[in-house]
């Protein structure tokens, strides 16, 4: 990849003349090329959803996880380089566990987010390490209610009503902006998320799976996979919506 960053992109400790750290930008590209993941903050919880391309018929269905538990009240969906994502999730789990052990209460969502963002930022500072090529959609439910955060490879983290990462993130965000997110329940959001993912899935003919998790009042404020029946209903509704729109064309 010669061209734009030539010469200034060889290490995370070099700025370009226009103030960029190219290694960080390249890490972000790894996330942008990943399959699409989205998160929605509803009035009663958070829904995380991700499109998983099935690369081989030999893979056991629904086996490779993109969404992981961090603690009972927190979960992360990773996008980008998946092994990097595993390390980030492990770190988050460690932070949550240490906090609980030392302070006697579950780690608040905003503290976990800060800790994770700080951690990811660390790898943008030193020559000897590369930035993580992952972004994490962090869903938490604590005393202040449900919260959705996105932590990016640069260490930037924000709190969202709804957001997406990966290939079709712009299309998903356009859909999310049309919705009244604050008024949805998680059950409704599960259906909407399935519809959106089916709609933005570009590679026709390439099979894909949807993995979804939620943390809401219905789940006892515990982060868990969306129950199989609920997900099946949502996918059926999504497929029906796609056929309808095909017929309209």
């Amino acid at each position: 990849m010669s061209g734009i960053g030539t010469g200034y992109d060889l290490s995370a400790t070099t700025y370009s003349p226009d103030g960029k750290v190219f290694q960080t930008d390249y890490a972000q590209k790894a996330v942008d090329n990943s399959s699409t993941a989205l998160g929605i903050k509803c009035k009663d919880g958070i829904v995380l959803a991700v499109e998983k391309l099935v690369v081989s018929k030999l893979l056991v269905e629904r086996s490779s996880r993109r969404i992981h538990n961090v603690d009972r009240h927190a979960g992360i969906c990773v996008a980008g380089l998946l092994p990097d994502g595993r390390m980030v999730v492990n770190r988050a789990a460690e932070e949550a566990s240490n906090y609980k052990s030392f302070y006697g209460e579950p780690i608040p969502g905003r503290v976990l987010c800060e800790r994770l963002a700080s951690y990811m930022h660390l790898f943008n500072l030193y020559w000897s390490m590369r930035p993580y090529g992952t972004a994490g959609l962090l869903a938490t439910y604590d005393e202040d209610g449900p919260a959705l955060y996105l932590v990016e490879p640069s260490g930037v983290a924000h709190k969202y009503h709804g957001t997406a990462v990966g290939k079709a993130r712009q299309a998903v965000k356009n859909e999310l902006e049309k919705m009244k997110l604050g008024q949805l329940t998680c059950r409704e959001a599960v259906v909407e998320a399935a519809k959106i993912l089916h709609k933005v899935h570009e590679e026709d003919g390439k099979p894909f799976e949807i993995e979804m998790s939620w943390i809401c009042d219905d789940s006892g404020r515990v982060h868990q996979r969306v129950p199989a029946e609920v997900l099946a209903e949502a996918e059926a509704a999504a497929k029906a919506a796609m056929e309808e729109s095909d017929m309209e064309d």
Partner: protein, 235 residues
């Protein structure tokens, strides 16, 4: 020749380190907690401080009652205040009473070989209102409706069993704490002097000082000497 209080203990067999032989009490009421302590610090039979403050503030809304080794409990209080302040910066909000109590009990547990601190943590927060936590020697942490500790506490367990009621008013709880402390101070040689109380509710911390002559007296107690009268008698 009297060599003063800092010499051998073979005769008395008592420990010589300054020791908060104490009575400390904390009681929860409808809307907050009341904490109270006596003021006596003794070194053997010498009262090295007759008006000490055994109530230490840990955060805006959480206080610590100290009994056992004065040095140990002061050190623990200082460490916990430091950790709690750091946590408040990270949280952007005051830590909960439960968390502060956990910090105290953790120090007790991790250093149990070296420490002798029997403490009570009490405070008020938005999440659970008024709370009392016992943090005895060894590192136990247990939430209670009321707690007592210190050498004088042995004389008032039954009194509190009898008198404590859930959902008391602030005035009733304050009166209960003062009564309990004065009962213990009347019987325990290592407790006495003055009473200090702190009441915590959503309006904040309210500190009270009860001088020696205002401490309630009980059956067969001699009335506190009147300072003016004593002066006249000597002069």
């Amino acid at each position: 020749m009297d060599l003063g209080p800092c010499v051998s203990t073979e005769a008395t067999g008592k420990s010589q380190a300054p020791h908060t032989g104490t009575t400390i009490v904390a009681v929860s009421f409808d809307g907050g907690v009341v904490l109270g302590a006596d003021g006596r610090v003794s070194t053997g039979t010498y009262i090295s401080n007759r008006a000490s403050n055994k109530i230490q503030q840990l955060t805006d809304n959480v206080f610590l009652l100290r009994s056992g080794s004065a040095a140990d409990t002061q050190a623990i209080g200082d460490y916990v205040r430091y950790f709690a302040e750091q946590l408040a910066c990270e949280l952007g909000a005051p830590p909960s009473v439960a968390t502060v109590a956990k910090l105290v009990s953790t120090m007790n547990y991790q250093n149990k070989e070296m420490l002798m601190g029997a403490m009570i943590v009490a405070g008020y927060d938005e999440q659970q209102g008024g709370q009392v936590y016992g943090c005895p020697i060894g590192g136990t942490l247990v939430r209670e409706q009321w707690a007592v500790d210190g050498s004088g506490s042995t004389y008032i367990w039954a009194a509190l069993d009898d008198a404590f009621k859930e959902g008391m008013t602030r005035k009733e709880a304050e009166a209960l704490v003062v009564d309990a402390l004065s009962l213990a101070m009347a019987r325990d040689a290592s407790s006495g002097g003055i009473i200090r109380t702190v009441t915590l509710d959503k309006t904040g911390a309210h500190v009270r000082y009860i001088g020696g002559s205002d401490v309630p007296t009980w059956f067969e107690d001699l009335p506190a000497p009147n300072a003016a009268a004593a002066g006249m008698a000597v002069g």
